[in-house]
Amino acid sequence: MAFSIYDLTSFNQWVDKGLNSVMSPLWATITEMAIIGVVFLLFYAVVGLFLVYAERKICGFIQCRVGPNRVGPYGIFQTIADFIKLLMKELVPINKADKFLFNLAPFIIIIASMMALAAIPFAKGIHAIDFNIGIFYILAVSSMGVIGILLAGWSSNNKYSLIGAMRSGAQIVSYELSVGLSILTACIMFGSLQLSTIVESQADCWLIFRGHLPAFIAFLIYMIAATAETNRGPFDLAEAESELTAGFHTEYSGIKFAFFFLAEYMNMFLVASIAATIFWGGWMPLHIGHWTGFNMVMDFIPPAVWYLGKTAVIIWLMMWFKWTFPRLRIDQLLTLEWKYLLPINLLNILVMALVVLMGWHF
Amino acid sequence: MSNQELKEKIQALLPTAEFAEGGKWLTVVIPKEKIHSLCKSLKETPELAFDFLLCESGVDYPDKMAVFYHLESTLHRHMLVIKAIIPTRENPEIHTVSDLYQTANYHEREIWDFFGINFKNHPDMRRIFLDEISDNIGHPFRKDYQDEVNIIER
């Protein structure tokens, strides 16, 4: 296939061989893990900073203003300046807080989002670990974040934080269902939970085109549920600025707050990249039927660009939602999940199974 | 209803009432004991139907205190001013109208806060603005109120 020019598998194997030839296999594995860890940390920081900047610019344009434009050209260093500010800020100690849990909470949140990153295929060959149950792993790990939120709310010894955390608990636990079911709809089509297989099987046609109506509905539901799961947009009840001042992270300051902040954007990135991987074909270029010339041109765009581009579009969608809609109330949030998304989702799975069974897809 | 007609109606309700005219609305001057019964009958008489208490304000005169009630009828659109005289400035007391007009609840708390007029039978007679400060700061809108620090005479 044409995109083999961008295949990095051989490069990975070459690195692996090189390391194994100079040291024992155990040390080689440890070195590899360390390299991957450093790369992911860097990636995490860069993506987090970029997304904060992007969000501020996008909401600026939506709101008839220009957004940050003072630090550096077009304000691109604004988030770095903010980050330095957050690093230097005082960590306000809370007297009656449960110190251990209070300090633990931001790490749980940030670790949960980082672990999920491991299973994302960025391009052919750029894949930290290719589980055969990749989707299952991502779902399991990313839902760990709610523990961090609950801990943060509980240990702050603040009434607003507690309400925010409880809201968040109810919200994430119930929206987990919709996320799972909508991904399940897609998995019926693929017959696999392995992310690399899922991407490969979309080589000719992305799922959202291949599975047409049921896939589109599943994508919509996934977007709604995933936005809710990241505590963003119209579903930011856990923070609910105008009701609970800042919800579960009211008492956090400085770098601990930065952790929550970074984790929020990272979760958004994760959710968007899962959507891109499952519904929009991950790093697969856009191919249309037998238009060989067109397909060839598309193949020359590197897979990493495809992947990041798709993720960026989905993130932009989520930001667009956030800056347009008012916030839901907690009972409406649960009504939306249990009375609308869940029944539609179950019906959608049936339709999808029928489509696959009868071969009505492309 | 014109002021003259109102005057006759109210005279029938309360023969001891005095009237002060000259403003655009009729002013009834009554002693403090009559206020609740007058307001009740004003509200309940169908052709008067004063159901809207627009404003309630306390006044500190040199030798007495007074509470002004500005009433409007949302049905007939006529207005009436009641001036209830409290003859003493020491521990003044008057009956509340907050059971007839809910809005009087806050207004009367404000008057208690600033003038020290106590409203009998009020459900919640506390200071409304100055409750956070202290109880012994007195009643600052009285004319004899002294505060060397915050009031600057010019």
């Binding site: 996008i58 344009f61 939506i62 709101q63 008839c64 220009v66 434009n69 667009w320 800056w323 347009t324 | -």
Partner: protein, 158 residues
């Protein structure tokens, strides 16, 4: 019936959300609609309206003369004591003793820009200045003396 209501509810909801998205989407793709001003950069072009109430000033002409007679009407009219007038007596040309202004002290930090001093001035000695960048590090800098040192009363103003 309920099913129809349920489904139409979903579609109506989606349409109403789409309408909102179109409004924000329109502004996102039309950067020409941006209304914010880039303040310190546009300081040169930034011109306040003629009537703008920046601060009270006392215009002086080229001979360092003003119109203030020191009558004290502005001080009397000021609701919060932001004007203080210190007068002195001078001997005029024809040998008479006359009251004149020594210092017209204006406390900008207390001023509420109610315009009563300017409106009540009988000799029109005070006007609004257009200055609006009043931020200083020391509050005492906001106390200004409006008549310039050595200035005298303009001829013909009583």
């Amino acid at each position: 019936m309920n099913v129809i209501k349920y489904i139409s509810g979903i579609f109506k909801g989606i349409i109403s959300l789409w309408k909102g998205l179109m409004v924000t989407g329109y502004y996102f793709v039309h950067p020409g609609e941006i209304v914010t001003q880039q303040y310190p950069e546009n300081r040169k072009e930034l011109k306040m309206f003629d009537a703008f109430k920046g601060e009270v000033t006392m215009p002086h002409n080229e001979n360092n003369e003003h119109k203030c007679t020191g009558c004290g009407i502005c001080e009397m009219n000021c609701p919060n004591g932001s004007i203080e007038i210190i007068s002195k007596s001078v001997i005029s040309e024809d040998g008479k003793k006359k009251r004149a202004i020594d210092q017209h002290i204006y406390h900008l930090d207390m001023c509420t820009f109610c315009e009563l001093c300017i409106k009540s001035c009988p000799s029109k000695a005070l006007v609004w200045g257009q200055e609006f960048e009043h931020a200083v590090y020391d509050r005492s800098k906001l106390t200004k003396i409006l008549n310039k040192p050595g200035s005298t009363l303009m001829k013909g103003v009583e």
